[in-house]
Amino acid sequence: QQQVKQSPQSLIVQKGGISIINCAYENTAFDYFPWYQQFPGKGPALLIAIRPDVSEKKEGRFTISFNKSAKQFSLHIMDSQPGDSATYFCAASTTNSNSGYALNFGKGTSLLVTP
């Protein structure tokens, strides 16, 4: 079963707007929440990651908001640019090796930023 649920499946945003992608998880043992960005024909690349001891992490135009009680986290892309057009994946895992080594990915969001 899908351990991380991601929405929306696709998103169109105008240049300069805010892109918001949401994810939800069920497993309370998860303690590592990265976002990956993937361009066509390329492998995913780490964008930003958060641990559950903080509610927000910002790196440049990218911000992760984390709500531990709701078991939800989201990616906000401020001042979205056409170069941000890509597929974004949220993921979650436990860093306890006794629970395995899988990084559980959402199904992805295809973002298109129009000029």
């Binding site: 899908q2 991601q6 690349a45 860093t95």
Partner: protein, 115 residues
Amino acid sequence: GAGVSQSPSNKVTEKGKDVELRCDPISGHTALYWYRQSLGQGLEFLIYFQGNSAPDKSGLPSDRFSAERTGGSVSTLTIQRTQQEDSAVYLCASSYGGLGVSPLHFGNGTRLTVT
């Protein structure tokens, strides 16, 4: 420096044939992962290597799938008696530490098409 290298980049094979997919991780990365990416399905964990051993094979979908890693470096994913449902992009990733410690660096994948 060089990233994760995967070969071939594309592979077309007939149903029932065996295929081998190769991954050259980043030098010095002890952890190696295989994932499968199907259209609209996100990334599916297959197997994890630490050095030459595979402590987590939980994602391998059937006994037709196997993987090995030699010299703590190159890894080969083998699919025997390929089926059409095996068609996907197979991604390899490496890291120098565990989940949450260091990011996964993905290769560009091998696109497998089973006809």
